[in-house]
Amino acid sequence: MGMATESQFHVLAVDDSLIDRKLIEKLLKNSSYQVTTVDSGSKALEFLGLHENDPNTPSVSPNSHQEVEVNLIITDYCMPGMTGYDLLKKIKESSSLRNIPVVIMSSENVPSRITRCLEEGAEEFFLKPVQISDVNRLKPHMMKAKNKDQQQENQEKQEKQDEESEETEKSEPGSQQPQQQHQQQQQQQQQSNNNKRKAIEEGLSPDRTRPRYSGLTVV
């Protein structure tokens, strides 16, 4: 039992195989993540509060999205009906969900598949069976997304404050920065995508230096 000053990260795992769902759930729970598993892409979208045919309905069910905050989605690639790739696309097309990091898993090592997924915005591509060392790579993505959300929130607060205190002519440096930041972030994202693809191809794991799993929960 750790002293959790921050709330747990919540991961949504999507896989049509019962065995693989059980495995990924244990892997994630052992890393102290809260886990929800579903067996299809459509169920995943349902859980996320998004309706399949209408990608931009955050106004329809904003509450259900906010109640179940999901910090990362990890999905199998090969699934009947909606594939992991289809799911990834739908998430990235949704204004309410696109900031959630998505990771793809597949039993097949197909380079073109991997490239396609990374280009569509997946953060990682894991080959099955997923290992503990793979799960160790998830935290940075969730932290980054959380920080980004926090930054955006702070920025919005700042802008609001600036607006409110604008009795006198006050310049708004805030309006210029988001654009630049966004471009920078995009560039960084591209760069890190390339690095990730390389890492996957070369089979490197930057987290090699982390202590090996020893049966203790990782805080």
Partner: protein
């Protein structure tokens, strides 16, 4: 607690044998590493799921290959699932046959597929037997240990007859 240590060593030896003979691979070790106090039956649960799933798939495969006109895509889909689940628990030999099986599916080779089906049934049967033995020995031995205590337990472990009966 020496008896338990001895038992653990023997179970390790038996498991090591399964690895040597190629029935299991490192993924099975990963499963064991995932098990902890919060879920002490994790490995048995996952392996049981594998048994259920495999039996279902083998039946489906037999049916699909028994048709007048074989739907090879369907066959491939079943084999793909079996390959996936055997890979997830580390059942190496089953996984290997599935790889060959898929090649025959791609080639729409009925005879090849039927041969593979027989092969995969055999391999499945073997690994199932070995895993069930592993679990049974573990369970029974601990029960004996609890009933009879350490000294008698150690004595039993050194007896070839005992080992023969349980292994």
């Amino acid at each position: 607690m020496d008896g338990v240590v001895q038992l653990q060593r023997q179970l390790l030896d038996y498991t090591a044998l399964l690895f040597q003979e190629g029935f299991l691979n490192d993924q099975f070790t990963q499963l064991q590493q995932l098990q902890d106090e919060t879920n002490p039956d994790f490995v048995v649960e996952v392996v049981s799921l594998f048994f259920e799933d495999s039996e279902r798939l083998l039946n489906e495969l037999a049916n699909t290959l028994d048709q007048q006109s074989i739907d090879f895509r369907k066959v491939d889909s079943h084999v793909h699932q079996l390959k996936g689940s055997s890979s997830s628990i580390g059942a190496q030999r089953v996984q290997n046959v599935c790889i060959a099986f898929r090649n025959f599916c791609d080639a729409q080779n009925t005879e090849g597929c039927l041969k593979c089906l027989q092969q995969v049934k055999n391999e499945y049967s073997l690994v199932k037997n070995k895993l069930e033995t592993l679990f049974k020995v573990r369970k029974t031995s601990y029960q004996i240990f609890l009933l009879f205590g350490d000294k008698l337990f150690r004595f039993l472990l050194s007896s070839p007859t005992f080992l023969l009966v349980f292994l």
